[in-house]
Every structure is written in structure tokens, then in C-alpha cells.
């Protein structure tokens, strides 16, 4: 698209209008978007066309429309985080990611659906109703960023922004047949990202190709003085790495297969497609080693202590005193009564569950046993990664243990839901980057399987090199992009 814009074969207004039309046509069935800003997007598109006409595009992606997860503050555009408690809230400021998108000239089509405050793996916990997987509308699109992944998979947006705290970019990417990248922690500014777990959250690209992710990553990434945890280091030549990888030569690249992330507990078809992809990389010259990360068995437990602890504190600000939903009980209520009633009405069950968990884990007398221990596990996981990266340039695993499950299937079993993120969570705990790309369709259900690539902190370029290589090798096998095989939604809608 960027090439067509650059050559004048199309215009940003035409592209933007086409995507808005597509949203009108299919989003009733998919429900990927919570808010569509047709007017704003077209105005930004017109401005982009003017820049292109004047020969001064703001960036390589100037004019390519994008959808943004509803957890990022966008000035003048509602930002609800999928929660009733923020219904109607319009931020007076832009997240750094949103500001960089605008500065680079990408028209913002709208805000995408998500599990409430990014808490979930299926987008079923959105207060505004679930998003449906474009491959099978009865199935979940992953979560929490199901809206961004579904929008890209359903061609409602060519690009989207997601956020990943325990897999919320990569796991939706896996189950929708799209590409999703969680950058190195600190690589993309968190300013304006409504925090679930500050030490784990990271925004990143959701796209249909590895190169698109690299290009988008270059737009949104880099040091931001507004975020103290932002890293003041160059991003690296990400798009160049993707282009280099696309040539398909993996000679000299050491690929580590993580023993603990595969086998038992992984769907047979998921494992099969993963193994086939590894074999393709070997054929392309890569060297494969098995690596063991013994501490990973504790990752999920540590994650479910650290994340709710931080979240319980982050979500305290939603108290109806300054913004958001305000429920005033009858009688002569005190400020505390208003807070209680508003939080009771405004938060969904999963959010309440995590607030209670986190409050408990941080309580005096339990802190050392829970939060303190979890931080120690985190250190052990980082050491496991260090040891593994001594043996391999990148580590690989299936992104999620299964393909997309049916909507409602795991709603009553939180632990089963949490297990979806077992392969993605370690990267968040260690702050390292990860990418998921489509590895094909599982033979037993015909649904997309995700392949995860992990790299050491600040070596995001390796994700793009290996990801683009595998993508080229797979598409060569398939004779086209995986999404070409997705069902036509117009028929499903009709």
C-alpha cells in the first residue's frame, strides 16, 4: 500500500475510504472496533495526500490507515479500555504511540475492541461484547487484543496497534493468522498506554506481514523522555532486517527450540505445523539446538501474582471522582459510597477478580510470600533466557498451545483461559522481544497456528530477520499468503 501511495497508484483518501467501507460491511459480524472515526480518518488522509502531492511525505507509511487498541489514549477520540467505567471518556492528550502515528501521517480509523483493561485471552471480557474470529465467527480472536488482530485479519485495517502484557499481541496474532510483535520492554513508549501491569506492558505492531510490522515498529518505537522506563538506545534497522530475512537464507543462524514450550498440553496440529516450520528453517541453513528453560514452569504463577498486584494499584484511580462512570447511590452517600458503587457497576468480573488477587498478594504479611517470590521467579526466568541465548540467536516455540476455541468455552474456567498465555508470558517477565507469525492451519480444525520467535533484549531486529525468512519459506510452500485462504466474510455476514 505504501508503495502504491508513493507511486501515486492510489491515494490515502481512497485507501481510508475503502477500509471504512469494509468496516461498514463486516464489522457488524466481527465487532473488532469499538469506535470508528470516519471523519477524522478521512481528514488525516486528505492531509496525507496533500503531503504526498507536495513531495514531502511525513514517513514511509504516510497515508496508510491504522486501527489502535482502545487502551491507548487518543486525544479527542474515546478511550474506554473495553470497560464500562471509562465509557465516554475522551482523553485530553495523545499517547506517545498515537502522537507518533499522527506525526508519521497514518490516519487513525478507530479504536479496537479488547478484554476489559487488557485482562483476558479471548476478548470475551470486553464490556462491549466479544470480537469474533474472522476465520470462524463462532470462535474467539484471542485476547486481549482480539479487536486489533481481527480487524487486520478481516481487512478492516491494514495495520493496527496492540499491547502485550502476557501475550495480548502474539496470541491473537496466532489464532487469527496475523503477525504480531511485542518489542523489547522499554522499546516503545508506554506514555498514554493505560496500564494493566506497568512492568510487563508493551505496545507493538499488528499486521499481515513481517515487513509491515518492522516498518510500523520503526514509526512507534524509540526513546521517549515521558516514559522513565523507555530505553535511550537506537532501535536498530528493523525493516532492513526483514528485507534481508525475506531472501530466505538462514545460514549461520542458531535457532533454539525451547523444550518446555511444546509437547504435552499442545494441540497436535499446532505442534505439527510448528515442527514443519522449524524443518523449513533448517532447510534454509539454520542450525537448530534444543534449549531448556526449567524455571518456565513457574512463569504463569509468577505472572498471576505480579500482574494483578500492579493492576490492583493501577485501577485504583477509577473512583468516579474525576472522570468516567459515576454511580451515586440513594440517600446521602459519602465519597466512599460513590466510589464503591461506581467501581462495583463499572468493573467486570475478571477485573474484580484480579483486583482482589492483587490486593491480597500485596497485603502486609503476604507480600514476601507472593509478590516477593514472584519477583525472584522473574529473575530466574531471565537467567534461563540468558543461558538459552548463549546457545542460540533466537528461541522459538508455538505461540499458543491451541488454535482458536469456541466463544464461551473457557469463560467459566479462568485457569484454562490463563493457560493460553503459557508460551508468551516468559518474554514479558524477562522484558525480551517476541514475534508471532502464521505457521499454517492445523489439520484437525483448519484454523491458524502461530509460530513464536524470541530474541534477547534490544535485538528486535533478529525477530524480523528470522520471521521474514520463515514467512517467505512458508508462503513459497503455500503459494500465497495464509490470509488468502480465510473465508469471505461478506457471505458469513449475509
Amino acid at each position: 500500500m505504501a508503495a502504491d501511495l508513493a507511486s501515486g497508484a492510489t491515494t490515502s483518501v481512497a485507501l481510508t475510504r475503502a477500509h471504512l467501507d469494509r468496516i461498514s460491511a463486516v464489522d457488524g459480524a466481527v465487532h473488532a472496533l469499538l469506535h470508528v472515526d470516519a471523519e477524522g480518518a478521512l481528514a488525516q488522509a486528505a492531509a496525507s495526500d496533500a503531503r504526498r502531492a507536495a513531495g514531502s511525505p511525513a514517513s514511509g507509511l504516510d497515508g496508510v490507515p491504522i486501527a489502535v487498541k482502545d487502551v491507548l489514549a487518543t486525544e479527542g477520540l474515546p478511550t474506554t479500555c473495553g470497560s464500562k467505567i471509562l465509557e465516554g471518556w475522551v482523553p485530553p492528550y495523545d499517547a506517545t504511540v498515537a502522537a507518533r502515528l499522527r506525526a508519521a501521517g497514518l490516519p487513525i480509523l478507530g479504536k479496537t475492541n479488547m478484554d476489559e483493561f487488557a485482562m483476558g485471552s479471548s476478548t470475551e471480557h470486553s464490556a462491549y461484547g466479544p470480537t469474533h474470529n474472522p476465520w470462524d465467527l463462532d470462535r474467539i480472536p484471542g485476547g486481549s487484543g482480539g479487536g486489533s488482530a481481527a480487524a487486520v485479519a478481516a481487512f478492516e485495517a491494514p495495520l493496527a496497534i496492540g499491547t502485550d502484557t502476557g501475550g495480548s499481541i502474539r496470541q491473537p496474532g496466532a489464532v487469527t493468522g496475523t503477525v504480531g510483535v511485542k518489542p523489547t520492554y522499554g522499546g516503545v513508549s508506554r506514555y498514554g498506554l493505560v496500564a494493566m501491569a506497568n512492568s510487563l506492558d508493551q505496545a507493538g505492531p499488528v499486521t499481515r506481514t513481517v515487513l509491515d510490522s518492522a516498518l510500523l515498529h520503526e514509526v512507534i518505537g524509540g526513546y521517549d523522555p515521558m516514559d522513565s522506563t523507555s530505553i535511550d538506545e537506537p532501535l536498530g534497522a528493523l525493516a532492513d532486517a526483514a528485507r534481508q530475512g525475506a531472501a530466505g537464507d538462514m545460514t549461520g543462524v542458531r535457532i533454539g527450540v525451547i523444550t518446555e514450550l511444546g509437547g504435552e498440553g499442545y494441540q497436535a496440529g499446532v505442534q505439527q505445523r510448528f515442527d514443519e516450520a522449524v524443518a523449513l528453517l533448517v532447510k534454509a541453513g539454520a542450525e537448530v539446538v534444543e534449549v531448556s528453560c526449567p524455571s518456565f514452569v513457574h512463569a504463569l504463577a509468577a505472572y498471576y501474582l505480579i500482574m494483578p498486584s500492579e493492576a490492583s494499584s493501577n485501577l485504583a484511580r477509577f473512583d468516579a471522582m474525576r472522570y468516567g462512570l459515576r454511580v451515586v447511590p440513594d440517600g446521602d452517600p459519602s465519597a466512599e459510597d460513590v466510589m464503591r458503587a461506581s467501581r462495583d457497576a463499572g468493573f467486570g468480573d475478571e477485573v474484580k477478580r484480579r483486583i482482589i488477587l492483587g490486593t491480597y498478594a500485596l497485603s502486609s504479611g503476604y507480600y514476601d510470600a507472593y509478590y516477593g517470590q514472584a519477583q525472584k521467579v522473574r529473575t530466574l526466568i531471565s537467567r534461563d533466557f540468558e543461558a538459552a541465548f548463549a546457545q542460540a540467536d533466537v528461541l522459538v516455540s508455538p505461540t499458543a498451545p491451541t488454535t482458536a476455541f469456541k466463544i464461551g468455552a473457557k469463560l467459566d474456567d479462568p485457569v484454562a483461559m490463563y493457560l493460553n498465555d503459557v508460551a508468551t508470558i516468559p518474554a514479558n517477565l524477562a522484558g525480551i522481544p517476541g514475534l508471532s507469525l502464521p505457521a499454517g492451519l492445523a489439520p484437525e480444525d483448519g484454523l491458524p497456528v502461530g509460530f513464536q520467535v524470541l530474541a534477547p533484549a534490544l535485538a528486535d531486529d533478529r525477530l524480523y530477520r528470522v520471521g521474514a525468512a520463515l514467512e517467505a519459506l512458508l508462503e513459497n510452500e503455500w503459494g500465497g499468503a495464509l490470509l488468502d485462504r480465510a473465508p469471505a466474510l461478506e457471505e458469513a455476514t449475509a
Binding site: L72, A73, T79, C81, L86, W89, P91, P92, Y93, A95, R190, Y191, G192, L193, V194, A195, A197, N198, S199, P225, M226, D227, S228, T229, S309, E310, S312, S313, A316, R317, F318, D319, M321, R322, Y323, A335, E336, M339, T359, L362, S363, S364, Y367, Y371
Partner: protein
């Protein structure tokens, strides 16, 4: 009505232990974690941004100047400076807290293990400092309606977030033991000395009346000689130097009465009422109060280099005790005079008055005798009197010029304190200039001689000392505005 034991009786039966927590607002140009200005008295909610309003998605960035000020305070208090420390979240719900957690420090303060020596009645007490840590201030609630201006009974409340995020340093002492009956005076002297030290560092306005310095007084009693620590109360809202001493004395009397009657002390927060001079129960506080502290994940650790610490230490101003000794020498005050100056909290005021042209003794006389008495009568701090060192110096200059005398000067003080303007304007408006016009004086002297013929005779007989009675009569006649020296000359001329 609360039972109270007389202070002396209480001190005969109990030993007090005290701990002081002082919050100091730093005078940095911007807030602790954002770029908003910190100016006092701006229109409500005009000095705010997404970060200090705690809007969803906003993030803090530490103010480097605040870190530097915190370290300088720590060094001036003889503290160790942490090589590595973190901020922590203190979680609790309150409408004036934008995030419902306060970004503070918990078990890793920037400065710890120091002391401050304070002087009471010529004796030095060493107050041990446990820690000084950095945190952000909260917003300010205004409770509208109801009679008390407090949250109970208010119709509605307004919150001003201009103050939210202003850098605070909390300085916590270890328990002050062994001061006996002087404990409240030690507390007051500690706060006063701390204030002077902070002024010298130029890190805060330290205006207690504006809330830029706030004090909580923790106090407990134990049976005399037991050497144990009793249950403490934490008295908040102690916002003047006088109140520090008064609140401590009140808690001694209240707790002593309770304990003597076989009762026990409830561990609680109490509020000091400046107007009625009592403390009342606030929130019950127990060690189970759980703030669920954890390290602030949005901030990176603070790790000041040892070079930076050494540089700051070398740049500290002269220590207070050295400065006082130097000033006493420069000013030529006796030990007793200097002690009164310190007790009156007038060191800085006298320094400024001298800088404005007054002699040291004159400055001391006005501030320690005249103005301290007036401040006590009005129940305000000396520094709160609506008169400046420059004005005091000008009044003394008028005396030195002979335009007024000491008695008239007191009337000029009346005028300036009553808001009638600058000293010269008060002199003019009140017609206070000394009369040295021979014509007017002559008539008054003639009247005095006529009224006191026997005195006049004695003077004529050479008893010059008797002139005093006639001078007094003339001064009275002229309502104190006569130039006494000239009157004496004229009387002696007339009666020689």
C-alpha cells in the same frame, strides 16, 4: 470534656517519648513527577497535567532538582545517602489523591541515620533522624457547607489538584527520649532549627502557615523511670511552631489523665485545633493499617554517584550552630541575649533588620522585647506579624534621626501592624513627629512651671535633678511628642 492532668503533675509521674514527622514542600520550579509549575496561590486546578491528575495512561518522570534537594537535606541532617533506592506506591483511597496511591519511598529512603542538634535553654539535645524520604503531595480538599469546614457535615467538597505532585520531603525522627519536662520545648526547637536549616539550604519556603512545612507529633507516655515505650498517638494539623509545643503539652496532660485513671491510650490519629488548643480523635490507626507498598514500576531506581554526593556535601552552607556563634560574635550579644533571640525565633529577622541598616542591639530590642510580646498577645508567630525587617529598621532610623522617640516608635509599630502603611506614612498620618519647636515647647514649659511652682523653686535653687518632674509634665502635656532633650535645655534656661 476531656480530663486533663496538670503538666507538672503529669511530668512527675510519666516520661514522655516523642517522634516528629515533618513534611517539607520543596521550592522546585516544577512538580515531583511532571513539568507543572508549583507556584503557591494560583487559581485552582490551573497547574495540572495528565500526570499530576493521574489520568489513565499518564506516567511519572522524576524531577532531578528534587532529588538533589533531598540529598542536600539529608547531608545537612548528617544522614547517609542511599547508593541505590526506589520509589514505592502507598496505596489508599482518598478523593484528593489522583491515582489513589501516593508515590513515596518505603524501605529504601534516599537519606537515613542522621541527627540534628537543637538548643533549649542553653542545653544541646541531639535529635536522631531515622530517615528523610521523597514523595509527592496530594491535592487539597475544600469542604463546603456545614459549620466546621471539615468533611463531616459538608454539603459538598471541592478538590484543588495544583498541590498534587508537589515534591515533599518527609523527615522522620527516632523517638526523642530523656528530655523529660522539656520534651515539648525540644520538639518546638527541633522544628524551628529544622526550618532554619532548610531556609539556609534554600530548598523550601518553609512557611508553616502556607503548609509548605507541616508537622505531625507522635507522643507516648511511660511510667517514670520504666524506660519503656507506651502507646502513641499521632497528632496532625500542627501547623505553627507554638502549636508544636502546645500540642505536645496537651497530649501529655490528656494521656496522663487517662493513664492515671487506669485507662489505656488508643493508637490513633488526632487533630490539633489551633483555636481551642485541644486535640480530638481522628481516624483510628493500627499497625494493621495496610498501604500495600510495592516498588513503583513506572520509575527507575535512583542511584546517585558518590562523586555527586561528595560535591553536594562540599557545597552545603555553614552549619547552623557555627552560624549562630558567628552572628553572636558579630552582633556582640551576650549568651543570655542570644538565647532569648533564639527562643523568640528572631535570628533571621534580626539578621535582615541589621542588613537594612539597624544596629544589632536596636534590632534585638524591637524583635525580642516589643514584637515578641505583641506576637504572643495575638497568638501568632513572630514571623507572621505583618511587619518586615526593613520597616523595623526604618522605625529605628527615625529614632536615631530624632524624628521620633522610643515611646512614639511604639505607636508607629501600632500603625504599621494595623496596616496603616509604611513607618513614615504612619508618623505623618498620626502626627507623631517629635516637637522641638521652641515656641510650642516654651508655652508648655510655662504651663508646667505655673502648675508646679515648688518644683520650679527647687530648680532655681540649683537642684537641677528636679527638672525631671517638669520634663515629665511637659511630655504629658504634649502627649509624648516633645523632644525631651530640648525641653530640658529650655527648662534650665528659663529657671537659671
Amino acid at each position: 470534656m476531656t480530663d486533663l492532668m496538670s503538666y507538672d503533675d503529669a511530668m512527675a509521674a510519666f516520661d514522655p517519648a516523642m517522634g516528629l514527622e515533618v513534611h517539607v514542600e520543596l521550592n522546585t520550579a516544577t512538580k515531583m513527577f511532571c513539568g507543572c509549575p508549583t507556584e503557591f496561590g494560583a487559581e485552582p486546578n490551573t497547574q495540572t497535567c495528565p500526570t499530576c491528575l493521574g489520568l489513565p495512561g499518564s506516567l511519572p518522570v522524576v524531577n532531578g532538582k528534587a532529588i538533589e534537594s533531598a540529598m542536600r537535606i539529608g547531608l545537612a541532617l548528617n544522614c547517609e545517602i542511599a547508593e541505590w533506592c526506589r520509589f514505592a506506591r502507598k496505596n489508599y483511597f482518598y478523593p484528593d489523591m489522583p491515582k489513589n496511591f501516593q508515590t513515596s519511598q518505603y524501605d529504601e529512603p534516599i537519606a537515613f541515620d542522621g541527627y540534628l542538634d537543637v538548643e533549649v535553654d542553653g542545653e544541646i539535645f541531639r535529635v536522631d533522624i531515622e530517615r528523610a524520604h521523597m514523595e509527592e503531595d496530594t491535592g487539597k480538599s475544600l469542604h463546603v457547607g456545614g459549620s466546621t469546614g471539615r468533611i463531616q457535615g459538608a454539603d459538598y467538597s471541592l478538590v484543588d489538584y495544583n498541590r498534587a505532585g508537589i515534591p515533599l520531603i518527609e523527615i522522620v525522627t527516632r523517638p526523642i527520649m530523656g528530655a523529660g519536662e522539656k520534651a515539648p520545648a525540644v520538639a518546638k526547637a527541633y522544628v524551628a532549627t529544622l526550618r532554619d536549616l532548610l531556609l539556609g539550604l534554600d530548598v523550601s519556603d518553609v512557611r508553616m502557615e502556607q503548609g509548605s512545612m507541616r508537622c505531625d507529633v507522635n507522643l507516648s507516655l511511660s511510667p517514670k523511670g520504666a524506660g519503656t515505650l507506651g502507646t502513641r498517638t499521632e497528632t496532625k494539623n500542627v501547623n505553627s511552631l507554638r502549636s508544636v509545643e502546645r500540642a505536645a503539652r496537651y497530649e501529655v496532660s490528656r494521656q496522663a489523665a487517662l493513664l492515671a485513671a487506669g485507662g489505656s491510650i488508643l493508637q490513633e490519629t488526632r487533630h490539633w485545633h489551633e483555636d481551642t488548643g485541644v486535640t480530638t480523635a481522628g481516624r483510628e490507626k493500627s499497625d494493621a493499617d495496610d498501604y500495600r507498598y510495592f516498588p513503583e514500576p513506572d520509575l527507575v531506581p535512583v542511584a546517585p554517584s558518590r562523586e555527586w554526593v561528595a560535591e553536594l556535601k562540599a557545597g552545603l552552607p555553614e552549619p547552623l550552630r557555627d552560624k549562630r556563634a558567628r552572628l553572636q560574635g558579630d552582633w556582640g550579644f551576650t549568651d543570655l541575649e542570644m538565647r532569648d533571640v533564639v527562643a523568640s525565633d528572631a535570628v533571621g529577622l534580626i539578621e535582615e533588620t541589621i542588613a537594612a541598616g539597624s544596629s544589632p542591639q536596636a534590632a534585638r530590642k524591637w524583635w525580642v522585647a516589643e514584637l515578641t510580646r505583641r506576637a504572643n498577645e495575638d497568638g501568632v508567630e513572630l514571623t507572621e506579624l505583618p511587619i518586615t525587617p526593613e520597616q523595623v529598621a526604618r522605625i529605628q532610623a527615625l529614632v536615631d534621626e530624632g524624628a521620633i522617640n522610643d515611646k512614639l516608635a511604639r505607636q508607629v509599630f501600632d500603625g504599621v501592624l494595623a496596616g496603616e502603611g509604611e513607618p513614615d506614612a504612619v508618623v505623618a498620618a498620626r502626627g507623631l513627629a517629635v516637637v522641638s519647636d521652641d515656641g510650642a515647647l516654651g508655652e508648655a514649659i510655662d504651663r508646667a512651671i505655673a502648675a508646679n511652682p515648688d518644683v520650679a523653686d527647687k530648680i532655681r535653687e540649683g537642684k537641677v535633678a528636679a527638672a525631671g518632674a517638669l520634663i515629665g509634665a511637659v511630655m504629658k502635656d504634649m502627649r509624648g511628642q516633645a523632644d525631651a532633650g530640648r525641653v530640658r535645655e529650655l527648662v534650665l534656661e528659663k529657671l537659671s
